[in-house]
Symmetry: C2
Subunit: 649 residues, 2 copies
C-alpha cells in the first residue's frame, strides 16, 4: 500500500462521515421521525409534532453537538439518567486514550520510523508514492537504539491507559453506589423470585410458600404472589387485541365512507360487520373476564412465586443463602423489575429449566458451527449457468456484462447478508425458550450468542479457513511464534496488524467497553444471575488473547531487530496487564454484581422513618401482577364491568 | 504377553498381599506399635500397653477382619464417627461395582471373545502359552453380531454404576445432614473470620469491628476477638519448650547417675547445670508472661478478627453477603475449627494475600514443569565412568558385575524416588505461605498441588515424552482419533488399555473417590472456601477425560469391527454420563459446600430452649484464643504465677 492509497481511503471515509452527519442532522428535525429521535420528549409532552413546514428543517446544523458537549455531568444525569452519564464518560475516555496514543504515535514514533532506512529512505520529493512500510517500525534499522523509543512508548501508553481505566472504573462504581443511595424504593429490591417449589399433598403452593418463608425469615418476610399458569388467558387477550384493532379499523373506514360516499350500498354491510365484530369482541372480553376470575380463585399454580420482604437486606439474605436441604428445591433468584418479567415462559421445574438450557446450548452451538455450510451451498447456486437454468427468462439480461458482473459480484455477499439477518432473531428465540424470566436476561443472552456467533464465523471461519493446519503447526512450536509473526509483519501488515492492533488496543484501551453492556444492564438490574453458559464477566480471559498476541508480536519484532534486551524487557508487560485486569475484577466487579450488606442496611435505615413505606409495601404485591390477569376493556358497552374483577393474593 | 506371564504376575501379587496382611496382623499386636494402630484407645485408656509377652502376639490372625466386617453402620458410627462410615461405604461400593463388572466380564465377555477367531483359535491343549489377545475384543470376528454383547455390556455396566452412585451420593448427603442435626453446638458454626479490616484513624481495629458488625447485624452479633501479632511470643514459647525438654533430660540423667554412681565428681557439675537451665527457663517464662500481658493489653492488632454470632443462621448470613462497599475490605470467611486455625501466618491484607498467592502459583507451576530437568541431569551423572571419576575408591567394587548392574539399574530410579520424596513437604511449605488460615486448608491445597504434580510428571512427561508432536498431529485430525486408537489396541494393549481402563473405569465407578478427600474435609469442616486456584469440585471436568477417551476407544473398535450401528449408538453414552455427572453436581455438591437456611434455622431452633447455650456463648470467645497467648508453666517454682495472667477481649 502506498501513501496516496491511504489518503484516498481517508478522503472517502471523511466524505461518508460528513454525509451521514448531515443526513442525521436533517432527519432528526423532521416531525415524522420524532418517535425515533426524541421518544421521551414526546411522551413527556414537552415536544409536539409541529406540522407547519419551516425551511430551517432542511438545513443541516451542528449546534446540537456543542450543546450536548457543554452539558455538565449533573445536567446529563437529570436529562438521561445514569446510562447517559456512563455512555458520555465512555466517549470522553476513548477520546483521551486515542488522543494520547495518537500524539505519541504521530509526534514520536512516526519521525523515528521515517528516520531509519532499513527498508529504504523516505522519498520527500514524491511523497504520495512512498510505501506505507517506510512509516512502520520495519523501517527502523536493526539494532538501532531508536527502537528503545518504541519500547518506552509501549510502556508509557499501557501505563497511561491502565491508570485512566482504574480511575474511570472507580468513578463509575462510586456513581452506581450513590445512585442506589439516592434512588426511590424499588419493588425489585424487596423481592426475590422462588422457583422449583416442591408440591405438597396437604396444601397449595401458596400455603407452602407462606409457611416456608415465615418460618425461615419471621422478622423480614412480608408476603408473596404465586405465579399462575395464564397461557390460555394470554392467547385470549391477544385475540381480543387483534379484534379491537379490526373493529377500530372498520369503524374509521365506515366513518370516512359516510363522509365521502353518503348512502352507498356498501355502507350498510360495513356497518353490519362493525356491529358483528363488536359483538364478537364483547364475547371474547367476557370470556377473558370469566377465565381471569377463575384463574385468580382456583387457577393452576405454577411452582414459582414472588416473595416480598420488609427490607432490601432481608431480600438479599434470602437470595444469597441456599434455602432448602435439597439444592434443587426452593431455588431463589433476584426478581427482575416488574415491567421486565417475561411471563410467557415460566419454566418452573429445576429439571425442565436445565434440560431446555442444554437443548438450547446444543442447538445454538450447532447453528453457529454449521451456519456457513448452507450459505455456501446457496451461494454456489448463484453462478450464471445455474441462474440461467433456474430462471430462463433472465438469460437475455444476464448476457449484458454490467448485470452479470453485479450478479456474480454482489449476489453471494447479498445472500450472506440476508442469512446473517436471520441470526439475531433466531438467537433471541433460542434465549426466550431457555428459561430466563426477564426480558433483559433474554436480550443479554441473545447478545452473547450473537457475539459468539460473530467471533466464530467472522474470525475463525473467514480468516483462518484453509490455514488452520498451518496455524496448529505453528502452535506446536510455541517459541517460534513471536519470530514467525514478526517475520510476517511486513508482508501481512495490511490485515494482521489491523486486526491485532484494532482488536488488541481497543481491548486494552477500553476495558470499559467490554463491560459496558453489563454496566448498562447492571444499572437497570442490579444483580446478574450467575449463569455459566456464555458468561462473560466471570471468564473474560478470552478477551485478553488479542492483547497478549500484540505483546507477543512486539517481543518478536524486538528480537528480529536484534535488540534482545528490549525483547526480554517487554515480556513482563502482558503479565502485568493481566494482573491489572485481575485486580480490577476483584476490586470493582463485585460492586456491579450485588449490593453490599453495608449499603443495603444504610438504604434500609433511610426508609425507617419514611411514612410512605406502608403505602409502598401495599403496592408491592400489585407490582408483580401477571398482565394477563389485569382487567381489559376494549368494547364500548359493559361499563359496569370496567372495574377490576380480580385481586390476586 | 501370554497367559503364563499373566499368571506369574498374579501369583507374585497375591503372595505379596498375603505377606503384607500377615505382617500387619502381627505388627498391630505389638504394644510398641499401639501408638500407630490404636491411638484413640490409648488416649481413652481402654487399651493399655501390656509388657508381658504372649506367644499369641507372634501368630498372624484374621479374626479382626470378620469382626470389622460384621459391625453395623451405627456401631461403626459410634466407634469411628462419620469418617469411618463413609470410608466403609466407599469400600463396599467399590466391591459391588467390581463384582458386577467382573461377573459380566468373566462369564459373558470372556467366552464371547474366546469364541471368535479373528486373531486365532484358542489353543486349549497348550493353554498357558495362548496370547492374551485371544481373550480380548480383538479376537471377535469383524461384523460378528456377538459384538452387540459388548455393546450391551457397556450400557448395562455404566447404567448400573450410575444408579449405584446416585443412591450412594444421596445416602451420604442425608447422613451428613442428619449428623449436623444431631451434633452438639460447634464454635465454628457460630463464628466467621473477617480479614482486610480497614484501619481508621479514630479508633482501634477492635472498635471498628464492634461498630461495623453491631450496626449490620444488631440482632445476631455477639462479640469478637481481634487477632494479634504474636510471632515474637511464639518463638519465645518455642524456646521455653526446648529449654524445658533439655532440663527434663538433664534431671533424669542426674537422677539415674545419683542411683548408680553415688558421689562421683561429675554429679556436682551436672546438678549445677540443671539449676542453671532451670533458672534460664524461669527467665524465659517470665519474659513470655510479660510479653503476653503486654500483647493482650496493647499488642499490635492484625487486621483480622473472629466475629461471633448468636446463631448459626446469623453467621451464615454474614458469610454469604458481601460486607463492605469496597469489595477488598471486610472480607469474610467461615471460621475453621478452633484447633485447626493456622496462627503463624496471618496474612491480613487483601493485597498481601493476593500477591503471595500469585507468587506461590508461579513457583509451584515452575517447580512442577521443570522438576524432571535436574533429576535427569543427576541421573546422567550416575553412569559408571562418572562414578569412578567422582569416587575412585568405588572402582574395585564396580568391576563386580552384580554391583555394577545394581548401580546402573537401580540408582537412577533411586535418585528419582529421593527427589520425589521432596515434593510433598515442598508443596506443603508453599501452601503454608499462601495465606490459608487453617491447617486443613493448607493440607488440601498441598494435596491438590501434589496431585497436579503427579499428573503432569507421571502422565505427560513419562508417557508422552518424545511423542507429543505425533499426538498433536492426531488431534489435528479428530475424526481419525477413534480409528487410530482402535488400530493401536492390540499392539499397545499392555499400556494403553491398562491406563484407560484403570483410570477410566475407576473414574466412572468411583465418582465418590473423586469427592472423598473433600467429603472428609467437609465432614470436619462444613464449608470449603471458594478458591479458584486448583479447585477440583468446581472444575471436575478434566477428570472426565479418561472416561470420554474410553468411550471414544469403543466407538473406534466398533467402527473397525465393521459394526457401524453399534459405533453410532455408543456415542450418546459419554454425553449421557457427562450429563449424569453434571446432574449429581447440581443435586448433591451444594450439600457438601454449605448448610441450607432451612437446616441452619432448624438447628438453631433446637438450641432455643437449651439452658447450656449461655455457657456455650461465654466459652465461644475463649475457643478462638491464640495459643501463644495461653499461660505456660514448665518451671517448678513461681506457683503463684500459674494462674492465667491474661484475658483476651
Amino acid at each position: 500500500m502506498i501513501v496516496s492509497a491511504l489518503l484516498t481511503s481517508v478522503g472517502i471515509n471523511t466524505a461518508l462521515c460528513v454525509l451521514f452527519f448531515t443526513l442525521y442532522s436533517i432527519l432528526r428535525k423532521q416531525p415524522s421521525n420524532y418517535e425515533v429521535y426524541v421518544p421521551r420528549l414526546l411522551t413527556e409532552g414537552t415536544s409536539k409534532r409541529r406540522s407547519r413546514f419551516k425551511l430551517e428543517r432542511l438545513i443541516p446544523s451542528a449546534g446540537w453537538v456543542a450543546k450536548a458537549w457543554r452539558l455538565s455531568e449533573e445536567e446529563l444525569f437529570s436529562l438521561s439518567g445514569l446510562d447517559g452519564v456512563v455512555f458520555m464518560r465512555m466517549i470522553t475516555f476513548s477520546l483521551k486514550t486515542f488522543t494520547f496514543a495518537g500524539i505519541i504515535g504521530i509526534f514520536v514514533l512516526l519521525p523515528v520510523n521515517c528516520w531509519g532506512n532499513q527498508l529504504k529512505d523516505i522519498d520527500i520529493a514524491d511523497f504520495v508514492n512512498n510505501s506505507l512500510d517506510v512509516f512502520t517500525i520495519s523501517n527502523v534499522n536493526s539494532g538501532s537504539h531508536w527502537l528503545w523509543v518504541h519500547f518506552s512508548a509501549v510502556y508509557i501508553v499501557t501505563g497511561f491507559i491502565c491508570i485512566l481505566l482504574f480511575y474511570e472504573y472507580k468513578y463509575i462504581s462510586s456513581r452506581r453506589i450513590s445512585y442506589f443511595y439516592s434512588s426511590e424504593p424499588q419493588p425489585h429490591h424487596f423481592t426475590i423470585l422462588v422457583h422449583s417449589i416442591p408440591t405438597s399433598s396437604s396444601g397449595s403452593i401458596s400455603d407452602s410458600v407462606q409457611s416456608f418463608f415465615s418460618e425461615l425469615y419471621p422478622s423480614t418476610y412480608l408476603s408473596h404472589v404465586v405465579v399462575r399458569r395464564t397461557g390460555k388467558i394470554r392467547s385470549l387477550v391477544n385475540e381480543a387485541k387483534k379484534m379491537y384493532k379490526r373493529v377500530t379499523q372498520l369503524r374509521s373506514d365506515s366513518t370516512q365512507q359516510k363522509n365521502t360516499q353518503r348512502g352507498f350500498p356498501g355502507l350498510f354491510s360495513r356497518k353490519n360487520s362493525v356491529i358483528y365484530y363488536e359483538k364478537k369482541l364483547e364475547d371474547i372480553e367476557e370470556n377473558v373476564r370469566l377465565k381471569q376470575l377463575e384463574a385468580s380463585l382456583a387457577g393452576e399454580e405454577a411452582r414459582a412465586a414472588f416473595v416480598f420482604f420488609k427490607s432490601r437486606f432481608g431480600a438479599a439474605t434470602a437470595f444469597h443463602l441456599q434455602q432448602s436441604v435439597n439444592p434443587t428445591h426452593w431455588i431463589t433468584e433476584l426478581a427482575p423489575e416488574p415491567h421486565d418479567v417475561y411471563w410467557p415462559f415460566f419454566s418452573e421445574s429445576f429439571m425442565r429449566r436445565w434440560i431446555s438450557k442444554l437443548v438450547v446450548v446444543l442447538v445454538c452451538t450447532t447453528f453457529t458451527i454449521v451456519f456457513l455450510i448452507p450459505v455456501v451451498i446457496v451461494q454456489g447456486l448463484t453462478n450464471l449457468n445455474q441462474l440461467e437454468i433456474l430462471f430462463p427468462f433472465l438469460t437475455s439480461i444476464l448476457t449484458i456484462k454490467f448485470f452479470s458482473q453485479i450478479v456474480t459480484g454482489y449476489l453471494p455477499s447479498l445472500i450472506l447478508q440476508l442469512f446473517l439477518k436471520l441470526v439475531p432473531p433466531a438467537m433471541e428465540f433460542l434465549s426466550s425458550i431457555q428459561g430466563y424470566i426477564s426480558h433483559s436476561d433474554i436480550e443479554m443472552s441473545a447478545s452473547r450468542k450473537v457475539l459468539w456467533f460473530t467471533v466464530w464465523n467472522v474470525f475463525f471461519a473467514t480468516v483462518f479457513s484453509g490455514s488452520i493446519l498451518s496455524m496448529f503447526n505453528t502452535l506446536l512450536d510455541p517459541k517460534n511464534i513471536p519470530g514467525k509473526l514478526a517475520v510476517a509483519v511486513p508482508a501481512q501488515a495490511s490485515f494482521f496488524i489491523t486486526y491485532v492492533v484494532t482488536q488488541g488496543w481497543t481491548s486494552v484501551s477500553s476495558e470499559l467497553f467490554r463491560v459496558i453492556p453489563f454496566i448498562f444492564s447492571w444499572i437497570t438490574r442490579p444483580f446478574t444471575s450467575q449463569d455459566d453458559e456464555f458468561e462473560v464477566p466471570s471468564t473474560p480471559y478470552h478477551k485478553d488473547i488479542p492483547r497478549v498476541l500484540f505483546f507477543g508480536l512486539l517481543v518478536g519484532i524486538f528480537a528480529l531487530k536484534k535488540l534482545s534486551l528490549a525483547s526480554t524487557l517487554t515480556m513482563p508487560l502482558p503479565v502485568l496487564t493481566l494482573l491489572f485486569n485481575e485486580y480490577c475484577r476483584k476490586r470493582f466487579l463485585p460492586i456491579f454484581v450485588a449490593y453490599s450488606a453495608e449499603s443495603l442496611k444504610k438504604k434500609d435505615r433511610q426508609d425507617q422513618n419514611d411514612a410512605t413505606m406502608t403505602q409502598f409495601y401495599e403496592n408491592l404485591v400489585n407490582a408483580y401482577k401477571d398482565p394477563a390477569l389485569l382487567p381489559i376493556q376494549h368494547s364500548q358497552n359493559n361499563d359496569n364491568l370496567r372495574s377490576p374483577l380480580i385481586s390476586q393474593a
